[in-house]
Symmetry: C2
Subunit: 408 residues, 2 copies
């Protein structure tokens, strides 16, 4: 038979989805699986978006413009204006989710072998898009001890080579929930300008900031019109992950023209999803206030609960709806699989994403897991209790002196 | 400013969409533009698909499985069984249109620099996906004189090198409308097996065969389980281009597992589009009979009309809803632009796709255009008349002896 490509062999399986067969088997045995592994919220999609779909008055479901419906792009420009970003609709290309925006952006900006610096731990699928585009991910380590703050400027400078062409941040961060301050973004701005790099900012969790913190967009930084790329998506904002509608946004005209060619090749983003997304722009502010309040309560239940378990460390995030916890275990991949295969507490078990896939070197995250707080509070409280019992019984549990030794 | 990548610079603009700004300007001047440039049918989407969308009962628009909803994949397997292809739902990965299936397939099967043989003229966007994957397209010429039949086996053999890893066909063909016979497919089967190549078959126009001709799928050929890849889409079948739902299908388990990793990276295909596509599987057979009859009548009006214009040659296609015509002109790119910029007849002009983008060497198609017969008959008849007048007035019109000379 013909061979599989090198890229195909190297493409990582999703760390978020690779345990799915074990979860299916657990369910088949009658065990309830509490899904903390995936950022699939149970929050209702705004009624205004669902109503637009239910009142569909088209009789032919046509392609849209390759950059997306103009009316939707004009609506998006108004949305960004409301968030302090001056943009025209021509600076926005609607994509098949944020995923496609990342892939197109990497292909349009980077040569195979070029280096892209990403603070780690980072969203696992960045590895996949980088591999598809032939880009080399160079991680710059943020640590759980410092709550995953932006690494020092010296740490970036130490990694810059002639092949370095960009920096990619996720803000607020997946998987850490870390929200960059304006000062941290100004630091990035200085590095980007000094070395003439692209700055990709994945800001799909923009709306979800807690404790009075405000989000600062990369597109609001001075002097980065040619450098800054915003990756966006409606998936989390409107709890509409399945719409598959994102956006590639920049003020760099040459880059826009280039990405449009990639967009033309795949014809158009989805029409139904765009109809829902355009309507969702009219979502009342009360919806977000309610949702943000709900997430904040969920965060507190999960993060406070985790930190109350002996040996567990989990910085409290200021944004998004994820957290990274360090557990007193030998190996998170093994632990997450064991939870699904060999454990239950009161008829339920917990599914989490091992952090190995969120680091360039899988060994770095071997004691960490990512947890999404997208389930209702009662389930989160049960998940915490379940996890506490599991850590008492897990054969690979580390003793206190082992935890201390491994942290060194 | 940071540089654009080589890939980004080389990515071709869509030959189908690159004239859009001229069409917009024509419309702004009050000229009706008859769109024969793009395969966007005016046929109604089946009511059963629209009804499923209008009766949406979900309150959270969630991701689906990365390979698509299992219920939809099971439905698709039954659909293929009805077309003589035995498949399980696990051999089907639902994609963002046929486009994504082509991109994933090329990335999973071919190394950068590998060669993919494609009978030309071919669907222009194959160049874009090949460029994105780093694959070198090697064209094997089919000629208008032979009605775009499959080139002789010797023509393929002459092109095969150690880097040849696959053959890609579109059947029925875009842009030619050519429908491969079983004998032609058996020829391809023999080449593929002899040289251990992948055979990619883009069969998105399967339903549209005329004059009693029947479609033979690459997946129905014996002994190609490890070699054959079917690229499919609901776009044309159900006149639902905007749904962005396609499929990557193969019986090669290792290839399926590889493509699933690419699919996991982009999370899921669109939920709304899948709901519409699953419902569309219940489209009554009468719908297809009516649509096929309509397209056949349109084909006859367009192709017979074109052949009645002095100096125009257009083989009558047996499938899809495109034809390629050779015109007595100096340059089709210039002619198509002139039609939009400088011509009108009774308030209307015609938009076509110049064939330069459908050949690996743009010069090869310089006198040819692709026309889609996706508009109602009255418009097609007007388009033919309009084109006849335009050819009389076009400054770059060739005289008979020039046409004969250029055909040599």
């Amino acid at each position: 038979m013909p061979a599989i490509s090198t890229k195909g062999r190297q493409m990582p399986a999703s760390p978020i989805r690779k345990l799915v067969p074990y979860a299916e088997a657990a369910r088949a045995r009658g065990v309830e699986v509490l899904h903390l592994n995936i950022g699939q919220p149970d929050i209702r999609t705004p009624e205004v978006a669902l109503e637009a779909i239910r009142h569909l008055d088209r009789t032919v479901i046509e392609y849209s413009h390759s950059a997306g419906f103009e009316s939707y792009r004009r609506g998006l420009a108004a949305y960004y204006a409301g968030h302090g970003m001056a943009l025209t609709h021509e600076q926005i290309i609607v994509t098949n989710g944020g995923s496609e925006a990342l892939l197109f952006g990497m292909m349009a900006c980077f040569e195979p072998g070029d280096e892209l610096i990403i603070p780690e731990p980072y969203y696992a699928n960045y590895n996949s898009f980088a591999l598809a585009a032939g880009v080399r991910v160079v991680p710059v380590r943020s640590t759980i001890q410092e709550g995953f703050a932006l690494p020092a400027i010296s740490a970036f400078e130490a990694l810059i080579t002639p092949r370095t062409k960009g920096i990619l941040i996720c803000n607020p961060g997946n998987p850490t929930g870390y929200l960059y301050s304006r000062a941290e973004l100004e630091t990035l701005r200085a590095i980007v300008l000094k070395h003439d790099l692209y700055l990709f900012a994945d800001e799909v969790y923009r709306e979800f900031c807690y404790d009075g913190a405000t989000h600062v967009s990369a597109l609001s930084l001075e002097g980065l019109d040619q450098h800054a790329v915003l990756v966006d998506s409606v998936s989390k904002r409107y709890s509409m992950c399945g719409a598959r509608v994102g956006a590639f946004i920049t003020r760099n005209a040459e880059l826009l023209a280039t990405v449009l060619k990639f967009a033309q090749a795949r014809l158009s983003p989805p029409t139904f999803g765009q109809i829902a997304s355009e309507a969702a722009l009219r979502t009342p502010q009360a919806y977000f206030q309610e949702v943000i309040d709900e997430y904040r309560q969920r965060r507190d239940i999960l993060v406070d609960g985790l930190n109350a378990i002996p040996g567990v460390t989990c910085p409290k995030p200021k944004g998004a709806f994820y957290c990274v916890a360090e557990l007193p275990i030998d190996d998170a991949d093994g632990f997450c699989q064991w939870l699904l295969e060999s454990f239950q507490h009161e008829g339920a078990t917990v599914m989490m994403a091992p952090c190995s896939g969120f680091y360039a070197d899988p060994a770095s995250g071997r004691r960490q897991v990512r947890l999404a707080y997208v389930l209702e509070k009662e389930k989160l409280a049960r998940a915490v209790r379940c996890l506490g019992h599991a850590l008492e019984r897990y054969p690979g549990r580390l003793k206190a002196h082992q935890v201390a030794a491994s942290a060194r």
